[in-house]
Symmetry: C2
Subunit: 253 residues, 2 copies
């Protein structure tokens, strides 16, 4: 049994030393946890020639920027799985040194595949009506950016506000506050779908009507500028709807 | 504006060296966060004669076993406040030494007052239909017990299952799994309102009908026995309902 509502697949092609290299991915997941079965599964295949160590490192980097940055309900699964398989059929010179420029190219491609799948999972979150993308920029460090982005994307109250299409920027700054990220409250700017809703930690004067139009979309991007450094991170999530409660209230029946 | 639905007050009396000492408390709170106003407020008064240092220590202990163990939606507030005032009118010998047996007695009384208020806040959680009490027992250490109890009480999926009156013990063990508490999965017993639903980490054979009756109550107690030590902790929460989503989706309108 699954609550997925669509197939999650992605494929792309890159060139390594003149050789076409393909990557394909598929994933399954809608709720972060269904303790009686597999929850989030992702399988990525490639015909790249790459050593196990390099492939593992490439996957670690891709996971940290994709599957590890998505949340539907904050309930970590007992059994998430991401697998990448490479058969070397592309015939590119074997990638076995992370210093090889081709390795960076492969990492970027793998990250792109994993991010595409992670976003599909968030978009298909149980009961979700919207895909939420949270970009935290100009953070003092990468961990600050990651903590902040994940806390905002995971805020129950923000998720409910987005379902209600309410430009509740205070909940964004509040989640930032308990995220553990380092920042100066009076230097935080918040953009909702490109609209400045808070400047230097205080509410900006914006058109609720314009905000409402932006929040009515199926994809909502929140940008939080900490003005405290040059690190950035992106997290993905979804809104919290009545349907989420219904699905999980009568899950076993 | 507040979403509280009832007044939260408690009073009790103890005796210190033959002197009657009164404690009274009141609190306000239903959602853990309303960024534009005070969220959870608690005020405790007593006529005990107690030094500021002892009173601070007593409050710290009481908070850790009450307000710091309650969750409605996992969104930490920017502005929770707990205040205790003592005027010394009781005439008891001044409590100024934490080694004084009277201090322990006062601490217990203050804890009782704070726990009563914390439970009222959970019971009145936005949209809540049930009060959830999670007791984690026989944990290897106090922090393990606290982490486990809070993670279980805060699990979005468990909260939705309780709203649906679904004896989904797997979600309890799963939350335990990501709580960070130390435990042996195959030694965990889970009781739902006194009914054994999981033994040694696996599902026990229990009557779904009986479980349904227990889950239909307005107070649900979950006991998780880690069989790994002698530490214990209790956390309080509530279920996740459609009404919670409604309240927070149109919060500003």
């Amino acid at each position: 049994m699954t609550t997925d509502t669509f197939a999650k697949e992605i494929a792309l092609q890159i060139e390594l030393d003149g050789q076409k290299v393909l990557l394909g991915g598929m994933a399954k997941g809608a709720g972060m946890i269904h303790p009686n079965m597999a929850t989030m599964l992702a399988l990525v295949t490639t015909d790249a020639a790459i050593s196990p160590a390099c492939l593992q490192e490439a996957l670690r980097r891709a996971n940290d920027a994709s599957f590890n940055m998505v949340t539907v309900d904050g309930d970590t699964s007992t059994n998430d799985t991401v697998v990448v398989l490479a058969n070397g059929r592309a015939g590119n010179p074997l990638l076995e040194d992370t210093a090889n420029p081709g390795f960076e190219l492969f990492c970027e491609a793998l990250k792109e595949v994993c991010q595409a799948l992670a976003k599909m999972i968030a978009r298909d979150g149980e009961g979700a009506t919207k895909l939420l993308e949270v970009q935290v920029v100009n953070a003092p460090g990468p961990e600050d950016a990651r903590k902040a982005a994940r806390a905002i994307a995971g805020s129950t109250l923000l998720k409910a506000a987005l379902f209600g299409e309410d430009a509740n920027w205070g909940r964004i700054i509040c989640a930032l506050g308990y995220s553990g990220a380092r920042f100066e409250p009076d230097r935080v700017d918040v953009y909702l779908g490109g609209l400045l809703v808070a400047r230097n930690g205080a509410g900006a004067s914006f058109s609720e009507e314009e905000a409402g139009k932006l929040l009515a979309k199926e994809e909502i991007r929140i940008v939080v500028d900490l003005q405290a450094g040059d690190a950035a991170a992106t997290a993905w999530g979804c809104d919290l709807s009545y349907e989420y409660v219904r699905i999980n209230a009568d899950y076993r029946s």
